[in-house]
Subunit: 422 residues, 2 copies
Amino acid sequence: MALIVHKYGGTSMGSTERIRNVAKRVAKWWRAGHQMVVVPSAMSGETNRLLALAKDLMPDARSPEALRELDMIASTGEQVSVGLLSLALQAEGLQAVSYAGWQVPIKTDSAYTKARISAIDDARVRADLAAGKVVIVTGFQGIDGDGHITTLGRGGSDTSAVAVAAAMKADECLIYTDVDGVYTTDPRIVPEARRLSSISFEEMLEMASLGSKVLQIRSVEFAGKYRVPLRVLSSFTPWDIDLDEEAKSGTLITYEEDDKMEQAVVSGIAFNRDEAKVTVLGVPDRPGIAYQILGAVAEANIDVDVIIQNVSNDGKTDFSFTVPRSDYGRVLDLLKASVAPAVGASSVIGDNRICKVSIVGIGMKSHVGVAAKMFRSLSEEGINIQMISTSEIKTSVVIDEKYMELAVRALHRAFELDGQPT
Amino acid sequence: MALIVHKYGGTSMGSTERIRNVAKRVAKWWRAGHQMVVVPSAMSGETNRLLALAKDLMPDARSPEALRELDMIASTGEQVSVGLLSLALQAEGLQAVSYAGWQVPIKTDSAYTKARISAIDDARVRADLAAGKVVIVTGFQGIDGDGHITTLGRGGSDTSAVAVAAAMKADECLIYTDVDGVYTTDPRIVPEARRLSSISFEEMLEMASLGSKVLQIRSVEFAGKYRVPLRVLSSFTPWDIDLDEEAKSGTLITYEEDDKMEQAVVSGIAFNRDEAKVTVLGVPDRPGIAYQILGAVAEANIDVDVIIQNVSNDGKTDFSFTVPRSDYGRVLDLLKASVAPAVGASSVIGDNRICKVSIVGIGMKSHVGVAAKMFRSLSEEGINIQMISTSEIKTSVVIDEKYMELAVRALHRAFELDGQPT
């Protein structure tokens, strides 16, 4: 008997008919003798519907008080889902009970709309499992120290599922989604993209952080921190396929490098159109300047991705970084109104029509010239590189967004990723 | 400075445009110097939408486990409302904060889908009011002793508002609704019905319990128990009408009999089509039999209204009572399967095509012959009376539902209620 966590996305929960299928699939696992915890997302479209209502009343919610209300509103989508799934499981003849994040409780900080999980008390869930119940827990949300509802931000249900699996030391966390695994790149852009039967945690982390939408980055971080066995698989297979077959499908995230017999140099191409670039021009080049700029940005709870500071010229330097595109207006306002005057910068410019394209692979560690090959390949297509950022297992470039598809296809071909599924 | 509770129904909260109007009205009261607590219902149609989803997965939810999930699901409607209204108030420039029932907390028993409020801890709300905030509290719901979400049943938001007003010793509780007050009877049935500028608490209690949909019965009970000054008024007046005029509109529920200068014999005609009648036939006439039958019904959490037991004949008697029509199937099953065999009854019959029509009036206390006049009036229309139930200030009859409108109109005329608004 294993303890298994299932996570189902909004599409899988999109109608009562689909919820019934989720219930049948969960029941199949439970009947095979497993203890089951299920974390469903809101029904597809529901979170958007709720936030559209909120936006109609306050087009640009920014204050903590307003963001708190967004969380009150948006968190209801998952609460409806868990209740419905519990009913569907009860209708299947199982015992089931649903909990909102605050009931578990899943404790978080108070960063409304992008809170982080700080602790999970699993006593209540464990008691229910011991009593033979399937436990359904809301994704995407928790409760802060003052008893306010928080949400984890878009895709937060993945993080909830992995965090619950980690807290409970689950044997495996299965993320059921509308793709059947992790691909070398997005098949909608490169039809030749291949599904990977496994991928190392480090590569998955880079793929997620670089814009692969399969898993939310924080869920991968969580999985890595607690070494949660994690599998991404399709929710579109019939619910009654053989359990052993289902348990081996999709893509497994691995933590041992030698899990993979043969290591490709580059495992995948990731891309992200959801970023914007800002540059603070003419910053006096003195110690602490990066902190003065980025500290203010972090305080406003804006995530910063790529950061570039060039060598100084005449004691002045230019400082560039990228942020989520949705924060573009906010970060420009912040920089112009307070940061630039405070650091004595000459001006602030930005561009929100950029994209980031990255190559990812554990194999890059031991292979030289991988980045050079990437730059040559882009150059051959006439694509200008605006920013470069590297790590041990990935190289990212920021380019004009109109070249995104072209760049991804060229790189997928250059690193010989085209081909048949493994 | 007064402490005022406003309650808005689902129609008033039916769109973001209407929510904005609610916010403007609340802001008007707050700017006039009042402390404001607002209890909104779910957006119109939302509770039905949610329960329809649940019903699709479990057509006949009865177990406590299933009813618990219905409450998880249905309670989200109000949670969305409070968050949206709080945003609308913040957009108006006020400080506002919303709370779900469990956050206040509003404590209830564990009778899912029809829970009763046991206590309200107002410390959190009071602190917010003292800080100058408008506090918005979900209607319809609370939390039980084990931390499960409960709902109070249909119309429960009225009860929440009055309970909050009672707990906080509010100066007045204003129920904004889609009618502009309490009428002598439903104007849709009798066009000559008149609005009452005030009504005694006892009469309002009878009107509510007898099917007038203006206020939920339990909210009136609560109001009476704690003598909460309660006013029913229209949410369709423009939000910017003069506050003093608004504060005097609608119908005030009074607690002093001499509030009313001239006492009519009968103040109103109430009716209720939402009942069903069941009869346990051939029950041995021995002590404890009523308890054996009704105890089992109460345990199943089914409300019983009119109860009739005739004198016995050959040591056998027939025992009849009415229940909400939605519980008709359940009560028949219960009586046939366990109660009737246990008490040695011969059979169980029922009818769910009945209605109850009642005359209500404090004046009945001191006037003889009122009931007789009612029976004569019905007899003149050829309407057969199936059951009769009386109290000091009301007389109710159960009749075939097809005669309902006819009976209401005849009684409204017979007791001289037709006329101009007071």
